[in-house]
Symmetry: C2
Subunit: 558 residues, 2 copies
């Protein structure tokens, strides 16, 4: 009996072996996440490393450890799950991007962003597809169909510019930051939509008429997704403004904002729209209206919670990609010689470089030709940085590749395994090698604007009293072409007078004219309905939250 009892203590088990394994997986990942955060913090001032690279390398090391521990049998713990990625990890990242984006800059550069993010993807897609189809077949990869090459084209058009964004400073180079940032999101959306289109349609022949139709469908899809996201944001603003959750509970406010944003993403996906665009624009609208309607505590909490969720998701993704790199099964199945492998890797890398250059420089020239306003011209240095920012490949590529070339995580043929392993290698190489070189490169190209040694959300903001219409005496601006002189994207007024000496200035003036129209419309019609900045709730008692104590402890001594 006593022995039985001691057995009791030793063998209390809640779950079956399977559940226990799942808990072990989660423990490993959460521990690695913690470690990654600590390391990332310690390496913050390092001139080479950033969070993404840290996570990737940590994942790699863990993968090695697991591989050795399981004696070469099993190199990863969590099976890469596209569902996990698309349903749980990607939405907070994109939503936070929309929530955080500097809206003024974003919309000012909207056309350029769309050019890069949409047209650029198509160009890059075309080059990579054609290039791989031609060169891979020459190299011996015979079992991939045209369909597979089209998928490869989309997979490698999906960029991951997070490394560059972590280095750039939003206040110092607002145009550049806004372009890289905005393009990153639109690029993700376009790649995913294009990928789905490729998956569901057999492009046997590609005529001009079909191309136009596809273009038309894309425009429709983009437009509808955007409208959907905007509507979701406005609805949340209206609900929160009208119902005043804050009267009873800040937590309800925060919950509603979070859930409605997530719901917008899911519904969009369910309706075959682009969830990425939807949740992005939902974030933009929420930060413009909804955020201002909630209590002060909710504002602080939401701002940081959204950023934290996004940060955790991103780190998790990189950790995962790193760990999955050593998926021995796929490497074994690939059956490629080292030479062949390096050859294909080299080809893809070259195509990525060329494909990106093929649209960044021409489209920048086009954008510069159109805009005329000196503040929105993209200098050559900036063009190089934009080109560089889009060389890195990340989780979206991995997710799409897994989607196309694996079934439940397993590849069917040696060629498919080759594509997977090549994708993983490109992602690792580009993120680690190019990513590490990013800080020095930007330091070299933009010497005055390298991110300060420390960066806090709490940096004193750029002076908030500079509005669009205030006077700033900057005698040299009009005609300046160096991005160095873009200070906070403010419309400069020389000596108190706007000096429309050319079409340049006229067009510059008209941009601010559009902005003025929007502001009037916003103030007159939108804000009364949806709240927004300056919203003051008409109640007799304005809540203030003393935040020294966690929970209004009545005793200051504990």
């Amino acid at each position: 009996m006593l022995m039985l009892l001691s057995t009791l203590v030793l063998t209390i088990q809640t779950w079956s072996t399977l559940d226990r394994l799942h808990v072990i997986e989660i423990v490993v990942f959460v521990s690695l996440l913690c470690l990654c955060i600590i390391l990332g913090h310690l390496l913050e001032e390092n001139r080479w490393m950033n969070e993404s690279i840290t996570a990737l390398l940590l994942g790699l090391c863990s993968g090695v450890v697991v591989l050795l521990a399981s004696k070469g049998r099993n190199s990863h713990i969590l099976q890469f799950d596209e569902e996990l990625f698309f349903i749980y990890l990607l939405p907070p990242i994109i939503f936070n991007a929309g929530f955080q984006v500097k809206k003024k800059e974003f919309f000012r550069n909207f056309m350029a962003i769309m050019l890069f993010g949409v047209v650029g993807v198509f160009i890059s897609f075309g080059i990579i597809t054609a290039g791989t189809r031609y060169l891979f077949t020459k190299m011996g990869l015979k079992h991939l169909s045209m369909w597979d090459y089209l998928a490869i084209g989309t997979i490698f058009s999906a960029t991951d510019s997070v490394c560059t964004l972590q280095v750039l400073n939003q206040d110092d180079t607002p145009l550049l930051y806004s372009l890289v940032f905005g393009e990153g999101v639109v690029n993700d959306a376009t790649s995913v939509v294009l990928f789905r289109a490729v998956q569901n349609y057999n492009f046997d022949a590609y005529t001009a008429v079909e191309a136009l139709d596809v273009a038309g469908n894309f425009l429709y899809l983009f437009f509808t997704s955007t409208v959907f996201g905007v509507s979701a944001g406005l609805l949340s603003a209206y609900i929160i403004k009208t119902l005043y959750f804050g009267r009873h509970s800040t937590d309800r406010e925060i919950a509603i904002m979070t859930l409605m944003a997530y719901l917008s993403y899911l519904l969009a996906e369910l309706c075959y729209l682009s969830g990425i665009l939807t949740v992005f624009f939902c974030g933009i609208v929420m930060s413009h209206y909804t955020w201002h309607n909630v209590t002060e505590a909710s504002r602080i909490a939401t701002k940081h919670s959204f950023a934290t969720m996004s940060f955790i998701a991103e780190t998790f993704i990189f950790l995962y990609v790193g760990m999955d790199a050593l998926d021995v099964d796929k490497w074994r199945m690939s059956k490629t010689s080292v030479g062949e492998f390096l050859g294909r890797f080299g080809i893809l890398l070259l195509l990525v470089l060329v494909g990106r250059a093929a649209f960044v420089f021409p489209l920048s020239a086009l954008s510069n030709y159109w805009t005329k306003s000196p503040t929105t011209k993209i200098s050559l240095r900036h063009q190089v940085i934009i080109w560089w920012a889009g060389l890195m490949r990340g989780a979206v590529s991995i997710a799409l590749a897994f989607n196309q070339f694996t079934e439940g995580g397993r590849t069917g043929s040696s060629d498919e395994a080759t594509v997977i392993t090549t994708t993983i290698t490109i992602v690792l190489f580009s993120t680690i090698v190019f990513g590490t070189a990013t800080k020095p490169l930007i330091g070299w190209l933009l010497p005055a604007h390298l991110k300060p040694l420390y960066h806090e959300d709490s940096d004193p903001p750029s002076p908030k009293d500079i509005s669009v219409d205030s006077d700033i005496h900057v005698p040299l601006l009009l005609g300046a072409s160096e991005a160095d002189q873009e200070h906070n994207g403010v419309n400069f007024i020389i000596n108190g007078l706007r000096r429309p000496s050319s079409i340049t200035a006229l067009l510059g003036a008209s941009t601010s004219g559009i902005h003025r129209v929007w502001r009037n419309f916003d103030d007159a019609h939108m804000r009364p309905l949806f709240g927004g900045r300056g919203f003051v709730r008409q109640v007799s008692r304005r809540p203030t939250i003393p935040e020294d104590e966690p929970f209004e402890d009545s005793n200051s001594e504990e």
Copy 2:
């Protein structure tokens, strides 16, 4: 070709049917959550309804809708997943409980809380097990083993006092609140541990020696889990204090706190400890040390994020339970006549009532006998409320019942199905009927202390300058037995002098003596190492976060 293209637009699909179904499930639940939050807000001032009941009823209605829509075939969307509950939903709730608990009250009433939460569970377990075994077999349920009855005993000992807590006011009745709150958490922990013990050990005979051994093992388990949780909390405090994440990123701080808390829960479960106790004490320690070490923005953000996550998890659980109530498969399988069903339901309900009364009143008397200090005596009204608070059954009961009597959500026999359906009914009935009666009952028992019509986290706190040692002139306190006179749990000092006129006051004084010892130890040894209240980081630049703008928009006009 054109037709094919239009088909393209119409049939773009990302996922297979299975994935799509999963997304639909999430959409339904997220939408219901939003609806629940809105309804809960609108009904906040209703004298009957509270959030849990709203969620439950909403879940029920949705279940009905789904049932009708699927023509009676399928009544629930998400399969009740104990893993989901224990791994994802329960930890944030318990952690937030620990994070939010008024520590002083909790530790002052620690013995009473342990009495109710541990001994009480055993008493109630014994009564329910014996009662059901005797009465159910008489009623025709022949296929349940002793093992099953023991499990039933633990299942129905797990209380859910959230309905009562939503009504009580922590500031008005701190002793009562602290007892109900603390007992709720300890009760959960004990029930789960006892359940696991029952599952893994066949109690063929039950001798006194075995009982002592089991008791010994429990103590060991509780002690170890507590130490583990405290260590995790202290580690997080040390890391954050030493590394100063806030220098670079508030988001890292928030992420580290959240992840380390979650990790503590998972590791405890993995090591066969009580994750509930671990994460609860981790929350207590974090709120005492770690929370004070982070930046101001992080403090606000974490406080509200943890509360929001807990709130969402709780609401989700009730929604789910409501929806699962109409699991037609189990109802059909149960093969019980209405009379039989009502008979068993009545028996269980009676046993719950009696089982609870069998320990609340005796143990309260015992506690009153021991404590002697008037501020910690439990009045009869309070005893009735404590008894009432533990009548409601919730998700833990459901989770344990599913664990014992279903395999992957399906029941094996008609008797098992009967237990499940009876459990669901008890949960629904107790939460809806008893829950609805809670507000009026407490209003009747404690007329002066019904929660004010509105409640905000942002209520001006009870004056924080009242410390343990400050003087308050309250001439009538010593000897007062009405809980009405417990104001904020402050140690009253009469006329500037402590008047130890009896053992009563001496024992009262000694409690504050223990507290004094702890404070000295805390100030001398713990806080230098782990931070805590009053922690001021030695840096030249103290971060301040301007929170008017979401993200330091350089332009005030947008």
